[in-house]
């Protein structure tokens, strides 16, 4: 599961010849909605894994034909080129407002946003908080890689203290730039959200946990329970200036100190 490229690594056909009886039992294949194309993502990026999980979950829930995605501005803007459902782009940070309009018009559809940390927690923080506070019945997939990837590595609101970026060349100094912003904990102050969780995709175990949480988040929406947000700590080897493996270890060993993994709120079953 270490390959970040949805289209390349994971569903790849083996070159080894197999007997007919071996071929009959399919253990792993491309989800229906994951388009058979190369992604533009860098090696080791977490978006590929998340796109695959998204496609798997929507298919397993039987809602591919009801799904409407809202793509962000950022590295994942081209998500619609990879996942074969209805999509719209949103202006930078505005995905929750766009999703609000979509969901209120189509309460029977499954509407989700897919956003990065700059989009969701910086320029779009107002839209994020207010959609959550209204308890919009949408699912928010929040990819937190602690940096602006598409614009080549500037500080994000989630950048770690001391982390070097293009705009914090000597490391993030909280005296002048504040502290890593914990979105799940912030939203946990609100009454309306029903599921807030932070997870990652750096080990097979984490990928399975992330898939389960993602599924639960969509189920919340399908059962009209309300707003859910799944935050995914995601590696950005390119702008962390690491190899993919170093980036994966960095999340497990360091990023999770600032952003502890776990379910922050789950009131799906509340009375």
């Amino acid at each position: 599961m270490r390959s970040g490229n949805a289209g390349n690594g994971m569903g790849k056909k083996t070159t080894t010849k197999r007997t007919e009886s071996e071929v009959k039992r399919v253990l792993y294949e491309r989800p229906r909605a994951l388009l058979d194309v190369h992604t533009h993502y860098c090696a080791g990026c977490g978006h590929g894994t998340m796109h695959r999980l998204l496609a798997e979950v929507l298919e397993e829930l039987g809602v591919l034909e009801q799904a409407i995605g809202v793509a962000p501005v950022g590295c994942a803007v081209l998500a619609y080129d990879y996942v074969d459902i209805d999509w719209t782009e949103a202006a930078h940070g505005r995905a929750p407002a766009v999703a609000t309009g979509l969901k209120r018009v189509h309460p029977d559809k499954v509407v989700f946003t897919y956003q990065g940390d700059g989009d969701l927690a910086s320029i779009g923080m107002a839209e994020t908080i207010h959609a959550a506070n209204r308890g919009e019945n949408i699912t928010v997939i929040f990819i937190n890689n602690a940096i602006y990837g598409m614009t080549q590595g500037q500080m994000a609101p989630t950048t770690l203290i001391g982390q070097k970026t293009k705009t914090t060349p000597r490391g993030r100094d909280p005296e002048t730039t504040g502290y890593p912003l914990k979105v799940c904990e912030l939203l946990d102050q609100l009454v309306a959200p029903v599921l807030l969780a932070r997870t990652t995709v750096v080990t097979p175990k984490h990928v399975r946990q992330t898939k389960a949480l993602l599924k639960k988040a969509f189920q919340c929406q399908m059962e009209n329970v309300g707003y859910s947000l799944i935050e995914v700590l995601s590696p950005c080897p390119t702008y962390w200036h690491m190899t993919p493996m170093e980036a994966y270890h960095f999340i497990e060993q360091t990023v999770t100190d600032s952003f502890p993994l776990g379910v922050i709120r789950d009131v799906k079953d509340r009375a």
């Binding site: 409407i68 209805d86 505005r94 407002a97 018009v105 189509h106 499954v110 107002a126």
Partner: protein, 357 residues
């Protein structure tokens, strides 16, 4: 006002309320807005009526959120609207540009107030450039409709939804604080049942069809240029088909007043009920579409005119379009009031006499 208006009856309503009622009658089923004076009666009317009549009202957390909720609702395939006043409309420009880039219809009502900055809450016409030149980033135009009575607010709001559908574009209704707040007798019963155009591009989930993707990102320059050329073709069609104007006064007028909205309202008084006898005949040229501007008609009138007095509640913005249309055929003068001041009939009359007697 009472939405159960009996057939054949007139109602006494404000321009803001008339816009709300006309929008609902035009089939608008989604509205998102943010409080700002002098358009709050519109939001209040919609908040009261729209949910009772099968639609969604949302008080958004910001102007940005409001326009982007409208973006989402339009993408979902429903007729959608937002309204605001000048400072709020500035904030909505990002969303309007994106809607153009995504070919999404919507109606945006600007009940103008005086600027720049926070300015004040008095009527003004300082947003003419913003409304007629696109307003946000990129090469685009929005159809801009300028009502000068409460009845026209009603009729043009209804029309705005049809135009937005027909050309898949945001349409601006450019009113001002005076038009929005004043009350006049209005009829709604002549408005036909709405007929939204089919929206095969809308996001509705994919049963039985291939997916739709609504986007304005076009990375290859050739692709983006081709899209821009397509927009320009649409604009050429709009300029050909959608020009609307009114000329009030004698056919053989020597002097023309040129004004829209509230300032046209004052000017019409001079043409129809002059304060004093003028030693020359005056007519009023009133664009109803500010874009597309009625260039050809004005050029024709200018051939026979001794001169034109443009009256604006701005430093002079429409006067640029008048100059381009007239192209030297006759002299053009300007009476400009700013800061929320409305030019008086006496002031305009004096100016006419000074210039043309």
């Amino acid at each position: 006002m009472d939405s159960e208006q009996p057939e054949g009856k007139v109602a006494l309503v404000s321009g803001n309320e008339a816009a709300g009622e006309a929008a609902i009658r035009a089939g608008c089923r989604f509205y998102a807005g943010y409080p700002i004076t002098p358009q709050n009666e519109l939001t209040a009317y919609i908040a009261d009526q729209l949910p009772l009549r099968g639609g969604v009202f949302i008080q958004a957390e910001s102007e940005l959120a409001a326009i982007n909720m409208v973006f989402g609702a339009s993408a979902a395939g429903t007729r959608a609207m937002t309204s605001s006043s000048s400072p709020g409309i500035s904030l909505k420009q990002e969303g309007i540009s994106y809607m153009v880039g995504c070919e999404l219809p919507a109606v945006i009502i600007n009940v103008q107030r005086a600027g720049p900055g926070l300015g004040n809450i008095s009527p003004a016409q300082g947003d003419y450039y913003q409304a007629t030149r696109g307003g946000g980033h990129g090469d685009y135009r929005c159809i801009s409709l300028a009502p000068f009575s409460v009845q026209e607010v009603c009729d043009l709001t209804y029309l705005a939804f049809d135009l937005a559908d027909a050309y898949r574009t945001p349409v601006i209704l450019l009113a001002d604080g005076m038009i929005g707040q004043m009350m006049e007798p209005v009829r709604f019963d002549h408005l036909p049942a709405p007929s939204p155009t089919p929206r095969p591009w809308a996001l509705t989930g994919t049963p039985g069809r291939k997916r739709n993707v609504i986007k304005s990102l076009r990375l290859p320059p050739e692709e983006l240029e081709a899209f821009n050329l397509k927009l320009q073709d649409v604009y050429a069609t709009i300029e050909q088909r959608e020009v609307r104007l009114e000329v009030t006064g004698p056919d053989d007028a020597e002097v023309l007043l040129a004004a829209y909205g509230t300032s046209a309202r004052i000017c019409r008084q001079i043409v129809e009920r002059p304060l004093r006898q003028l030693p020359f005949k005056v007519a009023l040229f009133r664009p109803i579409t500010l874009w597309p501007f009625p260039t050809a008609k004005l050029a024709e009138l200018a051939e026979k005119a001794r001169g034109i007095l443009v009256v604006e509640m701005s430093a002079g913005q429409m006067v640029d379009d008048v100059r381009m249309a007239v192209a030297g055929r006759c002299p053009i003068e300007l009476l400009a009031r700013m800061g929320g001041n409305i030019p008086s009939a006496a002031e305009i009359t004096e100016k006419l006499i000074t210039l043309f007697a």
